[in-house]
């Protein structure tokens, strides 16, 4: 287990799928949220990020896909420095990254089918209607929601929305999936189902995952490694068992 003393010990390594070094981010003059975050994620690893609300977890993963721009720091995803990419280059990296938003962010004006077809059609040239239908059905089967294919997002429960959000992410077959609080707002049983789904998808598709959560049950189930953010830095790092045994907070 590493504590904050080891915070600056990382080197940016090309072997890792995500390399973050010295990430700083602030909102306004006196509101520095990230104060030099360092972490790495290996291929196929599930990294869980824990931390209080406002500790900058969501901002951190938004930086990984270029939704937020970091003030300072090195941020390599799939071997590319995110900060130095053009819009087109960034989009080609984004195609290899999936992002599950906190509230799933489904397109309200589209049905479940259309939510899945929308990104697929845009990024798959010469794809036939049959191939699209098959991809949609297969992906919905993976998340256990074939029966909801023609429903609108407003007709879905919180858990179903998360599943559809995940299906929309999976349909583009990403190498990395970033989860922003995947179990927030769900009851314990649905939370467990979502956590198990994350794990089964990771095993089936051999994806790398970064999971932001407050949910310790989710962390225990899904994490290969956990980092805890506090005061804008990585305060602790280790497996769930190591952190549980720790006497620190």
């Amino acid at each position: 287990m590493k504590t904050k003393e080891s915070n600056t010990s990382y080197e940016v390594s090309p072997q890792n799928i995500i390399n973050v070094k010295g990430l700083y981010m602030s909102f306004g003059e006196n509101n520095e949220v990230l104060k030099g975050i360092n972490f790495q994620v290996k291929k196929g690893e599930n990294l869980v990020v824990l931390g209080k609300s406002g500790s900058g977890k969501s901002v951190m993963i938004k930086c990984l896909v270029g939704l937020d721009k970091a003030d300072k720091g090195e941020l390599y995803v799939l071997g590319k420095d995110i900060a130095k990419l053009t819009y087109e280059q960034l989009n080609s990296i984004r195609l290899r990254i999936g992002f599950l938003f906190q509230n799933a962010a489904l397109y309200d004006s589209m049905s479940v089918r259309e939510n899945l077809v929308f990104p697929l059609k845009r990024h798959s040239k010469n794809i036939t209607t049959n191939e699209i239908d098959k991809a949609v059905m297969d992906t919905l089967k993976d998340v256990g929601l074939e029966e909801a294919i023609d429903k609108m997002p407003s007709e879905l429960s919180g858990g179903m929305r998360k599943r559809v959000g995940l299906a929309r992410t999976l349909i583009l077959k990403p190498e990395i999936i970033l989860y922003d609080e995947p179990t927030t707002g769900l009851d314990p049983i649905t939370s467990k189902e979502i956590s198990e789904l994350i794990l089964s998808i990771q095993k089936k598709n051999k994806t790398t995952s970064v999971i932001i959560t407050h949910d310790l049950a989710c962390a225990r189930l899904t994490a290969d490694r956990i980092i805890i953010l506090r005061d804008g830095v990585v305060f602790m790092e280790g497996s769930y068992e190591q952190l549980e045994q720790s006497k620190d907070e």
């Binding site: 938004k62 896909v65 939704l67 989009n91 080609s92 984004r94 195609l95 990254i97 992002f99 938003f101 906190q102 509230n103 962010a105 489904l106 397109y107 309200d108 929308f118 990104p119 845009r122 990024h123 929309r168 583009l172």
Partner: protein, 254 residues
């Protein structure tokens, strides 16, 4: 006062940057033809009943209100021409544009604002889909094209409303009524009035999109985006109208 002025200048510069981004993206492929046609249908076709009712009432009321004065001067025969000129040059463009500012600009502001606060725009961005191109460019192009069509439609309905108004007190055939209108219309009356409606359409779309697309997080900002879109678009319509009238006047006096 300083803060107020600062806000105005800051908003103006942000809208200008937003407009520049529109012109940069509009000529770059891929072109979102399907979404553009869908927006034309939603923003244009769906506004037809409202524009028709308003246009008809404006034509009818204008005729009924003007008739006694015209009759006093024995100029009742000029009434069709006067109504048609008023409708084409000023009433139909302004009323239609204001209705569209209320219906379309606020609708776009609320729709994009709610997409922004529920992270749907971010979801598009991370799926490597350009949300500006898909959501903003298509809507601005749709309003720029549809508002002039709606105005021409309102002109026709308004002129027909005038015909109905004329026939309350007198008996005029539609042929004679239209003949009188065509006698008094000139090319210079129609073209500037139509050109300005493209600007109305562009600003109605752009202000709605700008307010929605830049809504900050929180549901409160959705209402604020819709509300401020109507206010700003209505103000922009009057300013454009004033400039258009001045320019037409200058051109006519050359």
């Amino acid at each position: 006062m300083t803060t107020y002025l600062k806000d105005i200048f800051s908003n103006t510069s942000n809208v200008s940057i937003f407009a520049m981004r529109f012109w940069k993206e509009v000529f770059k492929p891929p072109f979102e033809i399907k979404e553009f046609i869908k927006q034309c249908y939603l923003l244009g076709y769906k506004a037809l009943p409202l524009v028709a009712i308003t246009g008809f009432i404006m034509g009818l009321v204008l005729t009924i209100q003007s008739r006694p004065t015209m009759a006093k001067f024995g100029a009742e025969a000029w009434l069709p021409g006067m109504v048609a000129l008023s409708m084409i040059k000023e009433v139909a463009p302004i009323i239609t544009a204001l209705i569209c500012a209320g219906k379309i600009s606020s609708g776009i502001g609320a729709e994009l604002g709610s997409m922004k606060v529920t992270e749907q725009i971010d979801a598009m961005e991370v799926s490597a889909i350009n949300p500006f191109k898909y959501l903003v460019v298509t809507r601005i192009l749709a309003t720029t094209l549809m508002i002039p069509i709606l105005v021409v439609f309102a002109d026709c309905i308004g002129i027909f409303g005038g015909f109905m108004g004329m026939n309350i007190h007198t008996d005029v055939t539609l042929f004679r009524y239209l003949h009188k209108i065509l006698e008094s219309l000139n090319f210079i009356d129609i073209i500037p009035a139509t050109i300005k409606t493209f600007f109305f359409g562009f600003f109605i779309g752009m202000i709605g999109c700008y307010k929605g697309f830049t809504a900050s997080n929180g549901t409160e900002s959705v209402g604020r985006a819709a509300n401020s879109a109507v206010v700003a678009a209505s103000l922009a319509i009057f300013i454009i109208d004033m400039i258009a009238v001045q320019l037409t006047d200058l051109y006519a006096n050359l």
